[in-house]
C-alpha cells in the first residue's frame, strides 16, 4: 500500500521526538528521586545537628536522640564481609568459567549462576533466617545468631552472580594473543592467569566488585531478616544490630510522615542514594582507565 510522502516523513519525525523524550524522561526520573528523597531527608537537620547524626550512635527518637552511626557502621560492615567472602569465591568462579571449565561444565554452570541472580531477596533472607542464623547460634556462643556476620554471609551469596558474570565477561573480552604469548613464553596456565589475564582484566573485575558492593549495601529484605534489628552499636560480629536499610523497614511504618523521626529515616535512604551514585562514578573511572590502556 503506497503511503503519501508527507505522512511517511511526519511519522519519521514524530517517532524521533518520542524516542528523545523517553530518553530525557529517564534522566528526569533520577533527578526527581534525588530531589524528593534529598529534600525530605535534609529537613532532618532543622532539628538535629549534622554532627550528631553522623557521629553519635545513640538512636533514641523518643527522647530526641538521632545518632545514625550504628546504622552506617552496620551497612558498611555487612558490605565489607560480603565482599571479603563473596569476592574471592566469585572471582575464582569467573576464572574457572573463562579459562578452565570444559564446555559442558560451562554450559550448565553459567545458567545456574544466572539463576542465583533471579532468586528474590526475601527468599535469601528466609534461608538465612532458617539456616545461617541457626548455624551461627549453634557454632558460637551467640545467644541469638543474628548480627553482621549472618547478614554478611547471606549477602556474600547474593553478590556471587554479579561478581561471576561481570568478571567472566571481562576475562573473555581479552584478546587471545595475551594468553598465547604468555603460554608461548613457557608460563604455566596458573602463571598466565595470575600474571597476565587477571591484571589485564582488572578494570572489569573492579567494576564487578563495585557493582556487587552497590547491590550489597542497598539490599534490604534479606538483611532485615537476619541482622537482629536492635538499634545498638554491635559489640561483636554476632550481636544483633541494624543497618541503614533494615532500620528504615523497621521504623517507617510507625512514624508519621513529616516528623523528625520520619525525616531521619529519609536521610538514611538519601545516604544510600549518595553512596550508590558515588559507586557509579567509581565504575565509570574504572572503565575509563581500562579503555585508556
Amino acid at each position: 500500500m503506497p503511503q503519501s510522502k508527507s505522512w511517511v516523513h511526519f511519522n519519521d519525525r514524530l517517532s524521533r521526538y518520542i524516542f528523545i523524550s523517553s530518553a530525557v524522561l529517564v534522566s528526569l526520573i533520577i533527578l526527581c528521586i534525588i530531589w524528593f528523597v534529598g529534600m525530605q531527608g535534609l529537613s532532618t537537620f532543622r532539628q538535629v545537628s549534622v554532627l550528631e547524626f553522623f557521629t553519635s550512635s545513640k538512636w533514641n527518637p523518643d527522647s530526641g536522640q538521632f545518632g545514625a552511626l550504628t546504622f552506617i557502621a552496620g551497612s558498611i560492615g555487612t558490605t565489607l564481609i560480603a565482599i571479603l567472602l563473596g569476592g574471592p569465591l566469585g572471582l575464582a568462579g569467573a576464572v574457572f568459567l573463562a579459562e578452565i571449565a570444559p564446555p559442558w561444565v560451562r554450559s550448565f554452570m553459567r545458567p545456574a549462576t544466572d539463576l542465583f541472580a533471579g532468586i528474590p531477596s526475601v527468599v535469601y533472607g528466609y534461608v538465612g533466617l532458617t539456616v545461617v542464623v541457626g548455624f551461627i547460634r549453634r557454632s558460637t556462643n551467640s545467644s541469638t545468631g543474628y548480627g553482621v556476620l549472618a547478614a554478611g554471609i547471606v549477602l556474600a551469596i547474593m553478590i556471587l552472580p554479579t561478581v561471576i558474570s561481570l568478571s567472566e565477561d571481562a576475562l573473555r573480552s581479552l584478546p587471545g594473543s595475551y594468553k598465547e604469548a604468555s603460554l608461548a613464553l613457557g608460563a604455566t596456565r596458573w602463571q598466565t592467569i595470575r600474571r597476565v589475564l587477571v591484571p589485564a582484566a582488572s578494570p572489569g573485575i573492579l567494576t564487578a566488585i563495585i557493582l556487587a558492593m552497590a547491590r550489597a549495601i542497598g539490599e534490604t529484605m534479606a538483611v532485615q531478616m537476619v541482622i537482629g534489628n536492635s538499634p545498638r552499636f554491635p559489640g561483636s560480629l554476632i550481636t544483633p544490630t541494624s543497618t541503614l536499610t533494615s532500620n528504615i523497614v523497621m521504623e517507617m511504618g510507625n512514624t508519621p510522615f513529616g516528623s523528625t523521626w520520619n525525616n531521619g529515616l529519609f536521610m538514611m535512604s538519601f545516604i544510600l542514594l549518595i553512596i550508590a551514585l558515588i559507586l557509579i562514578i567509581l565504575v565509570r573511572t574504572a572503565v575509563r582507565r581500562g579503555a585508556a590502556r
Binding site: 524516542f19 528523597v37 569465591l89 526475601v122 523497614v249
Partner: protein, 281 residues
C-alpha cells in the same frame, strides 16, 4: 618443578571453588523446594489463608509495571542505540540510566511513598506500587534494548536506508524484528526481578490483600507473594501456621523463578533457530 605443582594446585583450588558455588545453589534450591513442596496443595491457594490473591497481585502488578515501563524503556533504548549523537545530552542520559540501575530498591520505595502515598494522597495502592516498580524496570529495559539493537549488523540498516526507507520504517520493519529475541530475553529478565521485589512494594502497595479474589481495582492495596513471605517471617500473625505459609510461599517463588528462567532461555533459542533457518533458505 615447583611452578608445575603450583599450577596443579591452583587448578584444583579453582575446581573446588566452582564445585562449591554449584553445590551452594543446588543445596539452596533443594532446601527450599524440599521444605515447601509438600505444602503446595490446592488448600494452600484457596484455603482460609490461601495465597491465590497474592499470586494474582504479583502478576497484576507485574503487568501494570510493564505497561508503564516498556514504552519509555524501549524508546530511550532505541534513542541511545540509533539516534544519539556524541554530545553532552547523550552523556547525561547514559549516566542517569546507569545511576538509576544502581539505586537501591528501598530508595525507589521511599520515593514512591513520597509521591504516590503522601503527595498524591492515594494511600497504599496497586497503581502506586506498579508505577514505582516501573522505575526499577526502566534502566534494565533501556540497557537490554540498546544492547540488542546494537547487535543488529550495520549492513541491515544501510541496506534499508539505501532503498529509500525512512529511519522509522527501517526500525519497524528491519531492526526491531531482528532484535526481537534479545528484547524478549530482556523483558523476561525484568519480569523475574519485578516478581520477587519486596522493598519497593511494602512502602507503596502495602501489606493487605483484597477480600475479593482477582480484584482488578488498581486503587486497592495489593500484597504480592514476596511481600507475603516477608510478612509471614518477620511478623507472623498469631493463630496462623506462618511457618508453613512461609515454606510454601518460598517454594512457589522459586518455582516461578525457575519457570521464568526457562522462558528466558528456551524461546530465545527457538526464535534464533527460526530466524537463522529463515535466513539460510
Amino acid at each position: 618443578m615447583k611452578t608445575r605443582q603450583t599450577d596443579r594446585f591452583a587448578s584444583i583450588m579453582l575446581w573446588i571453588g566452582a564445585i562449591a558455588i554449584v553445590t551452594l545453589l543446588v543445596a539452596f534450591l533443594g532446601y527450599i523446594l524440599g521444605r515447601g513442596l509438600p505444602y503446595l496443595t490446592p488448600d494452600f491457594f484457596n484455603g482460609p489463608d490461601g495465597v491465590s490473591g497474592q499470586l494474582f497481585n504479583s502478576f497484576y502488578l507485574l503487568a501494570l509495571s510493564l505497561i508503564f515501563s516498556l514504552p519509555i524503556g524501549l524508546g530511550a533504548g532505541i534513542y541511545l542505540a540509533e539516534y544519539a549523537p556524541h554530545n553532552k545530552l547523550t552523556d547525561i542520559i547514559r549516566l542517569s540510566t546507569e545511576s538509576l540501575a544502581t539505586v537501591p530498591s528501598i530508595v525507589f520505595g521511599l520515593f514512591g511513598m513520597i509521591v504516590f502515598v503522601n503527595k498524591l494522597g492515594l494511600g497504599f495502592t496497586i497503581l502506586g506500587g506498579a508505577a514505582t516498580l516501573a522505575l526499577l524496570n526502566l534502566p534494565i529495559l533501556v540497557r537490554v534494548t540498546e544492547e540488542s539493537l546494537r547487535a543488529v549488523p550495520g549492513s541491515y540498516r544501510e541496506a534499508s536506508l539505501a532503498l529509500g526507507a525512512t529511519m522509522w520504517q527501517t526500525l519497524r520493519k528491519v531492526i526491531l524484528p531482528t532484535a526481537l529475541p534479545g528484547l524478549i530475553t530482556g523483558v523476561t529478565l525484568v519480569a523475574g526481578r519485578a516478581l520477587g521485589e519486596t522493598a519497593i512494594l511494602i512502602f507503596t502497595a502495602g501489606m493487605n490483600v483484597s477480600r475479593n479474589l482477582f480484584d482488578m481495582n488498581p486503587l486497592a492495596a495489593g500484597e504480592t507473594l514476596a511481600v507475603h513471605l516477608f510478612a509471614a517471617k518477620s511478623n507472623p500473625l498469631p493463630g496462623t501456621n506462618a511457618d508453613q505459609i512461609a515454606d510454601g510461599t518460598a517454594a512457589l517463588l522459586i518455582i516461578m523463578v525457575i519457570v521464568f528462567n526457562l522462558c528466558l532461555t528456551l524461546p530465545s533459542r527457538w526464535l534464533q533457530y527460526r530466524l537463522l533457518g529463515k535466513n539460510k533458505g
